[in-house]
Structure formats: C-alpha cells, structure tokens
C-alpha cells in the first residue's frame, strides 16, 4: 500500500475513534464494525474481507468485558483493529499483527489519560468567558468541543500512523529471524483466540 492511502485510512480510523467517547457513541469505532469497514478498503478478495471481519469480531469479543465505567480508560478498540489490519496490509503475519494491534490499543491508554488531563485546562477558559460575557458562552462551548475533538483526532492519527510506520519493518525483521518454535507458538496461540473470545462472550452474557 502506498503511503497516501495508508495515511488516509489512519485518518479514517482516527475519525471513527471519536465515536468511542467524544461524539455519538454509535459503535462505529467498535472493532467488529471498524474491522469490517476497513476490510472493504484493504481486502483484495472476499476471503481477505472475511478475514478482516472475523479479526474485528474476535477483537470485539476480547475487549467485550472491559467497560468504560467512571474514570476508567479502557484499551482503544479502534486503534487495536486498525493497527492489526494496517500492519497486516504491510505484510506482517496476522498472528503477530493481532497481538501487536492489542498492544497498540493498550499502549494508547497513557496518551488517552494525558488527553483527558489536558482537556481540564479548557475549563479555565470557559470560566473566564462566563465571567466576562456569558452571552458568548455557547460559542465558547462549541469552540472547546471542536478543539477537544481536533486534539483527540490528531493524537490518535499520529499515534496509529507512527506506530505502523515504525513497527512494520521491525516486526517483519523479527518474524524473519524468529525461530520456528516462536512462530509455531504464535500460530497455535492465535488459534485459541476465538475460544477465549467465546468464553468472554458467554461470561458477559451470563444470567445474574
């Protein structure tokens, strides 16, 4: 894939990620939805499309019982599936991509935490605006909301794009030099992911 479409897809993932917390919560950013949508852009055959869709589904199940309750910052599912599929499009084997994608989703937590701290600074400007001219507060609120979304978009985009650009050559090299024992372990371990997903699903739906 050439850099421009790849960057555009990263931007698409970052845009969809706004749905996670900041705008709407329509569930477009859920791995199963985003994975399937990305599949339509990345896949060159129905097999590849279904592979992307199933990857999204298993990722969805693995993240199913992590709930965004209170101040908890859960792993970023959009980045996880976006990273998985975009790395795979660069030729990294899917077993490795899936784990790297999960790591990417988890690795975003410190940055997300920082972003939530940074957003608190917007409150000062709102208080000042309210004291100065409260009639203009609505405009101020809209500006702050737009800035908050812009900041989140840029952080997600650069995190994903940077991670893919940096991680793909290293992962390809690592895969090449890895012993068969490690490759076999990853392949066998990867085969169990649907079972773990199914167990997570049944646990999430357990009658209480």
């Amino acid at each position: 894939m050439t850099p421009l479409p790849e960057a555009a897809l990263c931007a698409g993932v970052a845009l969809a990620d706004l749905d996670t917390t900041l705008w709407g919560q329509w569930m477009i950013s859920r791995p199963v939805i985003l994975g399937s949508i990305l599949g339509f852009f990345l896949a060159d055959s129905p097999e590849a499309l279904w592979q992307a869709a199933w990857m999204g589904f298993w990722m969805e199940l693995l993240l199913l019982d992590i709930l965004p309750i209170g101040g908890a910052v859960p792993p970023n599912g959009a980045l996880a599936i976006g990273g998985t599929l975009l790395l795979h499009a660069r030729g990294v084997p899917i077993e490795l991509c899936f784990l790297l994608g999960l790591g990417l989703g988890r690795g975003f937590i410190p940055l997300e935490t920082k972003l939530r701290q940074v957003r608190a600074r917007f409150l000062r400007s709102l208080e000042i605006l309210s004291a100065k001219d409260v009639r203009r507060l609505d405009g101020g609120l809209k500006r702050i909301i737009f800035s908050s979304m812009g900041l989140q978009f840029l952080a997600t985009f650069f995190f994903l794009w940077g991670s893919i650009v940096l991680a793909s050559p290293w992962s390809l090299w690592l895969w090449k030099v890895s012993p068969d024992l490690l490759k076999g372990t990853l392949q066998r371990g990867f085969e169990t992911i649907p079972w773990i997903g199914l167990a997570t699903f049944l646990y999430a739906m357990r009658p209480r």
């Binding site: 705008w23 477009i28 909301i145 079972w195 167990a199 739906m205 357990r206």
Partner: protein, 281 residues
C-alpha cells in the same frame, strides 16, 4: 413560556408539567451527541452537560447575572452514562425552569444540585449494565447469528459467503444497538423534563432490570448456539478436534466464571501453546 407545548402532553405520565417543544427537544438531543466531548478527569462530563442544557438556560434566564450563575452551577462535576445523561439533562432543565418561574432561593438551588448529583451515579448504574454490559454483547451476538447464517446457507467450511453478508451483519449490530440507544436518548429528555424532581421514583417504574435479564438470557443462548456452530463448522472436522475444542472452551468459560481477566487467559493460552510446541517438536 415558549418551552411549553401543551399539545404534546403525554397522558401516561404522572406529572402535570407540559413537555418540551419539539424544536427545543431536537436541539438538546443533537447536543447530547457531544455529551462527552470534553470529558476530563477534573469534572468529567460537566462541559457536555452545560452544552446540552444551554438552549434551556439561555431561554429561561433573562439577565446576565442569572445566566452566569446558572452556567457556573452546571460547570461543576458531573458524570453518568452518556445515553442515560438525557434523563439528567431533561430533569435539570425542568428544575431550572421552575427556579426561574418561582424565583431563586438557596433551597431551590440546593434541591436542584442535589437531584442532579444523585441522578448521575443512579443513571450510570442502570446505563452501564444495560448498554455496555448487555446491549453491546447482545448486538455482537446478533451479528454472529447473521454471519453464521451466511456460512451455513452458502456453503460448507471452504466456501466463502458473499461480501454483502458482512454488511448485513454490521447493519444488524448497528441497528439493534442504536435504535434502542437513540430511543433512550430522545425519550430520556422528554421524560426527564416531565418528571423533574420525581425522576428518581419514576425511573423505578421502568423495568430496566427485567430488560437486562431477558437480553442476557437470549444472548447467553445465542452465544451457546453460535459457539457450538462455530466449533462444529470450523474446528470440528473430526471427532477428536471437536472434543478438544469443546473441552478448551469449557475450561476457558470456567476460568472466566472465576473472574479471570481476558488478558490473563491470553497469556495462559499462549503459554500453553509454547509448551505444546516444545513437547511436540
């Protein structure tokens, strides 16, 4: 007052307070999509809450001082589940309007703040269990059914279903989830506004727990059926493979039941894969 529209009174509701006008409800509804846009650790959803409430505040408070005081009230800490936030916005809008009509007293403001702060955690408790804990996995279960249907009807293991089935699956997921989510967001505003201070009692009349229990039961059955289908169709080509797959799944379900985290299970399974790889080389 222009917020009121007697033609849209809902006779089923206990309160006699007239509902929001359609235009005002629509404006607030669109704003609820940004409920968490400035989520921050310090005061969580305060900015989103004020943004949703602004059309009402700017209408009911005529002087700059009153409006500023109202804005400052709602820049205080607030947190709840984003869909259920509509109920809190609706009820607070009603209380703000009442305060504007009857005159602001320390008691009125105390009541307003008390209702709002009590509603946050109560609504979050319902919303987290209903939306994040039940409806989201349930929708994923429906999606699996659609995809499972595709694999069953269009061929056996090696046959790949048409691409349209992928879209059908995600369509079912999004419609199942969002239809209910949007309904709660929309009705939450009007009900919250109608109920006002009595929202706590009125919310108890909605059978949330029964909905959650039913969805969970259906989802659990769907999960077992879909899981069995998946194991048999994709892994159960021979009796040995099927029994192995079933045993491992049963073991994993038992471990999950003992509150094992998914990442721990991942570690265990990859560790097991490593040992298997070492001993079968």
């Amino acid at each position: 007052m222009s917020l009121l529209n007697k033609s849209r009174m809902n006779p089923g509701l206990t309160s006699q307070f007239p509902p929001l006008t359609l235009g005002m409800q629509g404006r607030i509804f669109l704003r609820t999509l940004c409920f968490q846009s400035v989520w921050n650790f310090e005061r969580m959803q305060n900015v989103g809450f004020l943004f949703c409430l602004w059309p009402v505040l700017s209408k009911v408070w005529s002087t700059k001082t009153e409006l500023r005081e109202a804005a400052e009230r709602h820049l205080e800490h607030f947190n709840t589940q984003p869909y259920m936030g509509s109920f809190a916005v609706g009820a607070t809008a009603r209380l703000e309007q009442q305060a504007a009509q009857t005159g602001v007293t320390a008691k009125t403001l105390h009541r307003l703040n008390q209702v709002k702060q009590t509603l946050g955690p109560a609504l979050a408790g319902i919303g987290d269990a209903l939306f994040w804990g039940t409806l989201r996995p349930f929708s994923a279960g429906l999606l699996l059914c659609v995809w499972g249907l595709a694999w069953r009807t269009e061929g056996k293991v090696a046959t790949i279903p048409a691409e349209g089935w992928v879209l059908a699956g995600i369509g079912v997921y999004l419609v199942a989830y969002n239809a209910f989510g949007l309904w709660v967001r929309w009705k939450g505003l009007s009900w919250g506004y109608q109920w006002g201070e009595s929202i706590g009692t009125e919310l108890l009349r909605i059978p949330w727990q029964r909905w959650i229990r039913r969805l969970r039961k259906i989802g659990f059955v769907v999960g077992i059926l879909a899981g069995t289908w998946w194991l048999v169709n994709l892994h159960g080509r021979s009796g040995i493979e099927l029994s192995q797959a079933l045993s491992i799944t049963f073991l994993l379900v038992c471990l999950k039941w003992r509150e094992w985290r998914t990442q721990t299970l991942l570690g265990v399974m990859f560790g097991g894969a490593f040992l298997l790889q070492v001993f079968t080389r």
